[in-house]
Point group: C2
């Protein structure tokens, strides 16, 4: 299984690379972006995963978040995967909606037709891609952490909570904290997983915590001018679940900030330094 380099650019003394490979899990070619900090030329470095939101590819975080400067200073590899399978034969939302199908994989393994064949982002990110990266790149896979934005914040929280031994730090920007309790989640999970909501709980950060999953602590930034705050994101649900379970949550409500990468770029340095202290 080989990694093909699609493009690479020097950046802050390191290298920003886009890779492509044939995925066994999704049955499609997949792309992902990696920032190799300068320190990785001399040895293995810790890995910070960033999962992006609805409509995004591996490119959005890479070009918009301004993360490379701090990652170069701290010696962190940044890995940004795509948000869904893509390509010939991959089924999409019948109406081409932005919140389901292509660009909206929700970081789960679908069980329902026609989605189950390709939409396997959970297994792709929990097994296939880390194995590839561990084998092919100068990554210290004993030191990993995860963060994400919106749908990718959901991905980071749920993947982190399900795999506490793998991820030493978990944080999120404006995450969907409970797909069981918002329209984006209702639509996606009912289609991907079917109507039995018990099957959704492995993909709901609040439900995972209620069902016993634990993380040492969580960091969440949420803009108060985010247009999805009340209808979709609902950080108060995570706050309640963490409070009940005794999980330490640092929830920072940022006045005036919205849902954009201007918000992410303003606080990415805080997150990367918080991760580096824990890696």
């Amino acid at each position: 299984m080989s990694l093909e380099i699609v493009s690479q650019s020097r950046c802050f003394g390191g290298r920003q690379v886009t890779y492509r490979h044939q995925s066994q899990e999704t049955g499609t070619p997949m792309r992902f972006a990696v920032f190799h900090p300068p320190q990785s030329e001399r040895g293995k470095v810790p890995v910070v995963w960033f999962l992006a939101g609805l409509t995004c590819t591996e490119e959005n975080f890479t070009v918009k978040a301004g993360a490379q400067r701090v990652a170069a200073e701290l010696g962190l590899m940044l890995v940004a995967p795509d948000t869904s399978p893509r390509g010939e034969g991959v089924p999409d939302d019948p109406e081409g909606a932005y919140d389901f199908g292509l660009g909206a994989g929700f970081y789960l393994d679908a069980t329902q037709a026609p989605w189950a064949a390709n939409y396997r982002m959970r297994s792709y990110l929990e097994r296939e891609l880390p194995a590839l990266i561990g084998a092919g790149l100068p990554a210290d896979m004993g030191r990993q952490s995860i963060m994400g934005h919106s749908m990718g914040g959901h991905g980071a929280l749920t993947m982190g909570l399900r795999n506490p031994e793998r991820f030493k730090a978990i944080s999120a920007f404006a995450p969907i904290v409970s797909p069981l309790n918002c329209p984006w989640g209702e639509k996606a999970l009912s289609n991907y997983l079917g109507l039995d909501r018990a099957a959704w709980r492995a993909y709901d950060a609040c439900a995972l915590i209620r069902d016993g999953a634990r993380a040492p602590e969580l960091l969440v930034d949420q803009g108060e001018a985010d247009p999805w705050l009340q209808s979709q994101l609902k950080p108060e649900l995570l706050q309640a679940a963490c409070a009940e379970a005794g999980v330490k949550l640092t929830l920072r409500r940022q006045p005036h900030y919205d849902h954009s990468y201007f918000f992410i770029s303003s606080f990415i340095e805080d997150h990367l330094r918080w991760h580096a202290e824990r890696l």
Copy 2:
């Protein structure tokens, strides 16, 4: 003449705003992006202009360069204009090429049909837009500087050299230093300005310097892995013109860097600090 706000986002404690207005010079609606640093809520702040390259709009620098963090620290307003007129009836390259017409205004006033009616980016940026910004935004128009990338590096150098009283600092990333001596310039200037090459000299940094234009100093970063370095950019021509004329040029050749915003983002902090010292 009113400025319409198309979008705005909180960013590093300031505001990133996209404006739209009807331009008298181009005869079209024009967009531009402004970063308002937090300091501008308390009074007027200096203005740094950034002119973008071929194919770009006001958005590229705004979302990709990572400039807001440093501008917020230094209290600089960042203004990023579009690179050409756009819209119904604006003529474009007959074959839709990327290097002429839409997205490729070359920061000049065209004199040839059918371009002369709309392609007036020089007058737009030398007269109309600064007047609008001075009247409508908290900008200290006595403290302006200019920078740009590629075609926009050409724009920054030529506009700076023609207006030394206006711009207190001039710098560029991978600029086209001499449209008289490269294929991009040959194509664009022959179409916009006609075949009399004497008329091109006001739009050629090297020719301007040879013809007597002066700046206190120039800062240029150029990636050595830039695919356009030898065929289009030719920084050695600027080096020679500056040496002959006694203009101080700091030309930094950056090993391994290419022509992308990964290159710009790696050095934008240096440029902004260099500008701030001179503003």
